[in-house]
């Protein structure tokens, strides 16, 4: 799949390939190739360093973007998969098990969107059902039992808007995961590697350290849905994406996440190994730091981390009613101070 804004790049690439094919017997073409290659590089830089938030959402959703399997292989020396919620179902949208990452035994889990059509349908395009959240809950409990960290790779459009998911209590299941993550006395490391859709994403990234890949996003609602509710026009999704500040850099600036992991030029799908490597290094770094902390201190720090996230004004604070009601951007303590 080629995204709209990728077209100039893909055109350059096609021309370069064609010239290479012809170049064998023609010395002069080499020069033209070099020229085009330079142009390609600069086009890539120009395009990818100025992606709009909504373009990043499209990159985050790219079907060729690396997924759970690629990260799992890059991160883990061994991955011992566990299945099922122990209640009656196994949701392939959530995968997890024991793994070893950078020498640390961990519980590794993540959303798996699947790699072919059949798997994509089976995993409901990464939208977990309640069974998936309950499988995650079981994995959190195992991490606590064994005293090993949780590493979560987030990549979901969000919870499933589906009859069965409601009948089996997806809100209850997400809530139970949040409660579990809030108190699990082991390090919790999360990386948003693609889509970070609302509560379904949060059920895997209430964590001690949250990294985001440069072109991933984390949002309380899909930009399309936000546009259709607030602007009453789903085609204004780009505006909604802009307004909600859902990109990795925006969230870092707001102190919601801890770091932004650079993607290769052209996005993770253009150079999967570069993306998986940077994620693996980030996870290893977080694990090395967090495994040194006492469980109680970890849970306390996690408490304080989330407890202070918000943008309310205390009674009487700056201009109060008028200031806030007038839409003037206000100060909030953690607003501009990334944790690291």
């Amino acid at each position: 799949m080629i995204l709209d804004f990728e077209k100039p790049i893909k055109d350059f690439e096609a021309r370069i390939l064609e010239l290479h094919r012809l170049a064998g017997s023609n010395e002069g073409l080499q020069e033209e190739i070099s020229r085009l290659e330079a142009a390609l590089e600069s086009a890539k830089k120009r395009i990818y360093s100025h992606l709009t938030p909504y373009q990043r959402v499209q990159v985050a959703r790219h079907p060729e973007r690396p997924g759970f399997r690629e990260y799992r292989d890059a991160l883990a020396d061994d991955f011992y998969e566990l299945s099922g919620d122990r209640l009656g179902a196994d949701d392939p949208a959530v995968r997890g098990g024991l793994a070893r990452i950078g020498g640390h035994p961990v519980v590794l889990l993540g959303h798996d969107k699947g790699t072919d059509v059949k798997a994509r349908v089976a995993s409901n395009f990464g939208m977990a059902h309640p069974e998936g959240y309950r499988k995650a809950g079981r994995l959190y409990a195992l991490a606590e039992r064994f005293g090993v960290p949780v590493v979560a790779l987030v990549d979901t459009p969000g919870a499933a808007p589906a009859r069965g998911a409601e009948e089996r209590g997806q809100a209850w299941a997400i809530s139970a995961d949040l409660m579990a993550l809030a108190r699990v006395p082991v390090p919790v490391v999360a990386v948003v590697v693609g889509e970070g859709g609302s509560g379904g994403a949060l059920a895997m990234c209430l964590a001690d350290h949250v990294s985001m890949l440069e072109n991933s996003y984390l949002s309380v609602i899909a930009p399309e849905a936000c546009a259709s509710i607030i602007f009453r026009d789903p085609s204004r999704a780009a505006e909604a994406a802009e307004a909600m500040k859902i990109t990795a850099r925006d969230l870092l600036a707001h102190g919601i996440v801890d770091d932004v992991l650079p993607e290769p030029l052209g996005g993770a799908h253009n150079e999967p190994e570069a993306a998986t490597t940077v994620v693996a290094r980030a996870v290893e770094g977080s694990l090395s730091r967090l495994t040194k902390m006492e469980p109680k201190a970890l849970v306390k720090a996690r408490y304080e981390r989330y407890r202070r996230m918000g943008a309310h004004l205390e009674a009487g604070e700056i201009g109060a009613e008028n200031g806030a009601a007038g839409g003037i951007s206000m100060e909030h303590p953690e607003g501009n101070a990334p944790v690291r």
């Binding site: 919870a159 499933a160 808007p161 589906a162 009859r163 998911a165 409601e166 009948e167 209590g169 997806q170 809100a171 209850w172 997400i174 809530s175 139970a176 949040l178 409660m179 993550l181 809030a182 108190r183 609302s198 509560g199 949060l202 209430l206 984390l218 949002s219 309380v220 609602i221 849905a225 936000c226 607030i230 307004a243 909600m244 500040k245 859902i246 969230l251 707001h254 919601i256 408490y303 989330y306 407890r307 996230m309 918000g310 943008a311 309310h312 004004l313 205390e314 009674a315 009487g316 109060a320 009613e321 806030a324 009601a325 007038g326 839409g327 003037i328 951007s329 206000m330 909030h332 607003g335």
Partner: protein, 266 residues
């Protein structure tokens, strides 16, 4: 189905027409019955102040964290105006009131959401006040009673709205390490981030009759999946049949129900 955003039936005249059964209602009757239709028992939305009047022993409610206001962390176009209008309409600072009260003599921490305030959406103020109520209840060893009514996230606050789910969850998780009970009451409608965080992780989940409760709304599901949903989908009764709600309690019996529960553990 009545326009639940309206909060109260019109109080312009002497009579109003029940949007559920179509019968005329004396507005005084409706008010004295806390917005429950005297003919068909339909439960209209109840404001947070009225909810507290319904549940708290007379004069026992003491508000906390009053005057806390929403910021506009995203500088979201139109949010300021929306807030100003909601404040004007409701006389409230935001979509929740919280404090302490007595219910049948039992001291509790009590919070009530107000659907009239931007659809009871959870922004930073809701998250903060709910979390503070939990912390206060934990510190003081008080039972916790929260009445939810919410359309879900407050999109205008972007990811801050999402993070209120995390904030209330860490606060509730700590509260639950104590031994005092947490009763969550779900009023029509309760959806989205509120359902998927503090409103369902309770010891006891009570719902009002016919209240619609869920994560995604029926309209979103129908438009996404093209599936016709069954009669009564996501009503309190439906969710109780699905093992997600403990009890369905008529609004006018709610105070007594809480008194019984609190009395059993006192």
């Amino acid at each position: 189905m009545p326009d639940t955003e309206s909060g109260l039936a019109s109080t312009d005249g002497v009579f109003t027409k029940c949007e559920s059964c179509g019968d005329p209602i004396y507005e005084k009757d409706l008010a004295s019955r806390f917005n429950v239709c005297p003919h068909c028992e339909f439960h209209y939305p109840l404001s947070a102040p009225d909810r507290i009047r319904l549940l708290a022993d007379t004069g026992s409610f003491e508000g906390r964290d009053e005057g806390m206001l929403a910021g506009d962390p995203m500088g979201f176009e139109g949010y300021g105006e929306k807030l100003a209008a909601a404040r004007k309409k409701t006389g409230l600072d935001d979509a929740v009131l919280s404090g302490t009260a007595r219910i049948g003599g039992h001291g509790v921490a009590l919070a009530a959401m107000d659907f009239r305030f931007i659809g009871g959406s959870m922004g930073s103020v809701v998250g903060e006040k709910i979390s503070r109520a939990m912390e206060f209840a934990y510190d003081e060893g008080l039972p916790l009673v929260i009445v939810s009514s919410s359309g879900g996230a407050r999109m205008f606050e972007g990811v801050y709205s999402l993070m209120q789910m995390a904030k209330t969850s860490v606060a509730l998780s700590r509260y639950m390490t104590g031994s005092m009970p947490y009763v969550s009451i779900l009023a029509d409608p309760t959806f989205g981030g509120v359902t998927a965080s503090f409103a369902t992780a309770a010891d006891v989940v009570i719902a009002e009759p016919k209240a619609r409760i869920g994560f995604a709304g029926a309209r979103v599901i129908e438009s996404t999946t093209k599936e016709r949903l069954p009669e009564g989908f996501q009503t309190a009764e439906f969710q109780k049949d699905h093992g997600l709600v403990d009890r369905i309690v008529h609004r006018l019996a709610l105070k007594n129900d809480l008194e019984r529960f609190l009395g059993l553990l006192a």
